[in-house]
Assembly symmetry: C2
Homo-oligomer: 184 residues x 2
């Protein structure tokens, strides 16, 4: 772990290099050499700060998953529109992180089941949040209905995100809003 300023800065450069490489070319592009070249660091320095390449990648992926969820603290408040708006904002403000997020689920083979399980846990938590927001808006909704509706809307949002990752010209926010109208 970095103690001095230089070390902390180097660490940040390595993380940023890893993130941009993952966003541009997926796991395949994030080789140690590529990361070190982009961060302007020699491999020895890399291993002074990280135990393995995997560690750097996991940190980037974990951070990207976390970034999707706006303020997990504010549980129990917030409307469905807030949640959808937060998702849209995430894509507009942090496209690089967003792309890593979209890639993470399918590409996470590196740590085999670990990454996938983490992603699934995250998804389930999100379904709960969306479902609760839906129930708050319509108190006649059963728990089961809420889960089904939330799963449907989140599926649509993730599908549109996937579409955006394929082609950044795609107007994600426009379709995300339409999906919220249609599936809520």
């Amino acid at each position: 772990m970095a103690r001095y300023q230089v070390g902390i800065q180097t660490e940040a450069r390595i993380i940023e290099a890893t993130r941009s490489l993952l966003a541009e070319g997926g796991m395949e592009a994030a080789t140690l050499k590529a990361i070190c070249d982009r961060a302007e660091v020699r491999s020895g320095s890399f291993y002074n700060l990280f135990d393995s390449k995997e560690e750097a990648i996991i940190r980037v992926v974990r951070e990207s998953i976390k970034a999707v969820d706006p303020d997990p603290q504010q549980k129990g408040t917030g409307t469905l529109d807030d949640l959808v708006a937060a998702y849209i904002r995430f894509f507009e403000e942090k496209p690089k992180v967003a792309k890593v997020y979209v890639m993470a689920a399918l590409t996470g083979e590196s740590s085999s089941n670990g990454a996938r399980r983490r992603f699934l846990r995250h998804h389930i938590r999100r379904v709960e949040r969306f479902g609760e927001a839906m129930q708050r808006a319509d108190s006649s909704m059963t728990d089961d209905d809420a889960v089904v509706s939330a799963e449907l809307l989140l599926g649509a949002l993730d599908g549109l995100a996937f579409r955006w990752a394929l082609d950044q010209e795609f107007e994600f926010s426009k379709y995300a809003l339409l999906a919220a109208e249609k599936f809520a």
Copy 2:
């Protein structure tokens, strides 16, 4: 290219080995050694039948993309329900191929744009088919509306497929039908 019976069988074993490895563990799992071991073939035989590992993978991916589209010949007929039903059937009947399909877009050779572009072309074709089916059901629909609706429904279906790839317990067909209902 294989001419004799033995060669044709070996080729089939290699393709099947590649497909199952891709479905189980993504690109990372589909090493030459793993493919050859599973197909019970030595690397020399592999290269007698394929120019490269890439060729085998591309064939599997291409086949999986093709398998999603039911009878491209029947253009101009078929209802939206038929198209959705075909997509659902694809997941139920060919789960292995389906998983490769879901993985293909981002994970393929994420660096080489070839796979991504092919996937995008395929998606656009599908949006057209879905849009036409929607217009056939509601003749007052403009072309633009059809594209938007089709993009939305396909986004949802793909997102649910993505969800299924994460966790095969997920009842894909149930949610796919619910999504389709919203557009009826």
